[in-house]
Symmetry: C2
Subunit: 373 residues, 2 copies
Amino acid sequence: MAGTIGLTSAWTWRSLETPVPLVDLDRLEDNIARMAHHVEARGLALRPHVKTHKTPWIAEAQLAAGAQGLTCATVFEAEVMASVTNEILLAHPPVHAEKLRRLFALPDHLSLIIGVDSPDAVGMLQKAAEQWPRPVKVVAEADVGLKRVGLRNPTDVLQLAQAIGRAPSLEFAGIMFYPGHLKGATSDQSEGMLRLNQDLHQMCETLRRAGFPPAVISGGSTPTAPRFGELADLTEVRPGTYVYNDRTTVSTGACDLRQCALTVSATVVSTSVQGQAVVDAGSKALGREPHEGLAGYGEVLDHPEVVVTRMSEEHGILDLSSVTWRPRVGDLVRIIPNHVCIVVHLNDVIYGMRGEVVERGWEVAARGRGYCP
Amino acid sequence: MAGTIGLTSAWTWRSLETPVPLVDLDRLEDNIARMAHHVEARGLALRPHVKTHKTPWIAEAQLAAGAQGLTCATVFEAEVMASVTNEILLAHPPVHAEKLRRLFALPDHLSLIIGVDSPDAVGMLQKAAEQWPRPVKVVAEADVGLKRVGLRNPTDVLQLAQAIGRAPSLEFAGIMFYPGHLKGATSDQSEGMLRLNQDLHQMCETLRRAGFPPAVISGGSTPTAPRFGELADLTEVRPGTYVYNDRTTVSTGACDLRQCALTVSATVVSTSVQGQAVVDAGSKALGREPHEGLAGYGEVLDHPEVVVTRMSEEHGILDLSSVTWRPRVGDLVRIIPNHVCIVVHLNDVIYGMRGEVVERGWEVAARGRGYCP
């Protein structure tokens, strides 16, 4: 099959060996354009997180639509994306010596913005950044309620800004935060958004009064995208999942099911146990990502009442007990996953199609870590 | 770092960028030898499942220790393992046309044994096997209680054996089963093992009486390994996880914690939220694999009371609320995962060490699917 994709229009997605992730290219393009317009209309900068797609040509499409740079979670993502952008925000504290070495071995045309939340991380970053040709911009990571990383108290944020300010190779650039606790599209999150707005404003005021005005206030996620306009101090947003969307995004109200661009194609391999069908997409293709309020690990396209209720590594079990539909051995199904970022990380190759026809295939260039044994 | 591993003894695991899976090579070798002896002592053949390691040199070590062939779940695993063995059992029904094409494009020195559970799969297999230079051995997959794939009723197993017997390019070889519902090392599983023994015997007797004596009765798993001797008709076993073991294996009683050979090395990147430490190993490195009776997604080596209670894609949260130990930003921890097979599938490169010194690094050659875009 190698090499034939793109040379002929004879390949439909049905020809592709399963399990395999398929991307509806029309939906992908719509998703990229829609978020770009949405963010631009609110006067914000867009710095999409590449963790969802890990793919340079998709990052290029995001940049062409108006993104001003990219967000990466790993140094390998930054290495791969250095060929398509001039500005990368690393949204994960780089704390290991080898990781820092790789970070500052990146092509030095890059403008780097690094998020950290501790004086220890600032110290390591300063030491590693000494040979970088220009000051490295550093944003203080704030905890706005997720309780994962970040500083909660405005005074702590100010102290970190001061530590960054004292480091000769670093430059304090502002604040970053990730509101992962807010599924912002739904109306019952209004109070959370209001509180987030107040918390951010208090942090910004504390910094401004002390002579550390934050130029960048970087936050946001795909679920909070519909409510970006409610955060007065925000300057840029870093949504990632929106390029593909998934069942979780749908459940937050930030998109509808027809905006899910990625499905996993799978073949029914067994119907021997009554009331179920077994496909060849298990946890190694779909990911085991339960989500509160969602049944199962993925739903079947065009049969939303059928979900993947159990998985082994290479088996996915479709529960048919509540439906009359009975797929046969050899039938293909397409599954909308709960969490698309994990699906991308599990699979090396993805195919893109228009309608039924496969238009291109690509390697997920930034999956893995880029380690050399 | 590329190329330096193996050329110098200066690299300890602490030098390796995190997150990264580390294998204790002494434990790996002990695990391989112990299972080989255990199986040989019971007069059984050993056909280890490669899904756990996906690595040719480890398969070679299993074969050198006495394994008579290998078990694969995917065609790509079979393609990669064809260079180290002459006999592969494919333990997943090959039902898609492209998958079947690749299966019979394998080097034809291989003796293939394929497990199926439906006349439809037999029909597709017969068609695809026509050009194969010798009959393809086929085993009927039996459901012995897991309710995943396989036939439960002895009469259905016989009918499938008859369908295989009628296919000119196929040869009925026996029965395979996977007792994934039994965590066989614990005493409260005695009744389950007794029933499994009876079920298997009934299937074998039905086949023998009808003139389809099953030469191969292939089953078993790492958790049931301590009780292989209780299944009278068994001829071969296909454990996989035993090479590395994990918290789940420990929980079944089939190994102890000091027999877990693989840990994930991770760096503490944040301690900003009280009562927790955050490491750079999240669901994209560790896998989100909850297991009944186990707290969290992995436990910290030498601090078994500390587990990964929450994860994001690149963040793992260690709950420190019940301990006095307080790791600092920059400290390394090693995490014993709940499910090691998923860790291997998530990571491209693994390092092996003796004591503290890194002895070799290798790519996980059979991870992914081997698709060419």
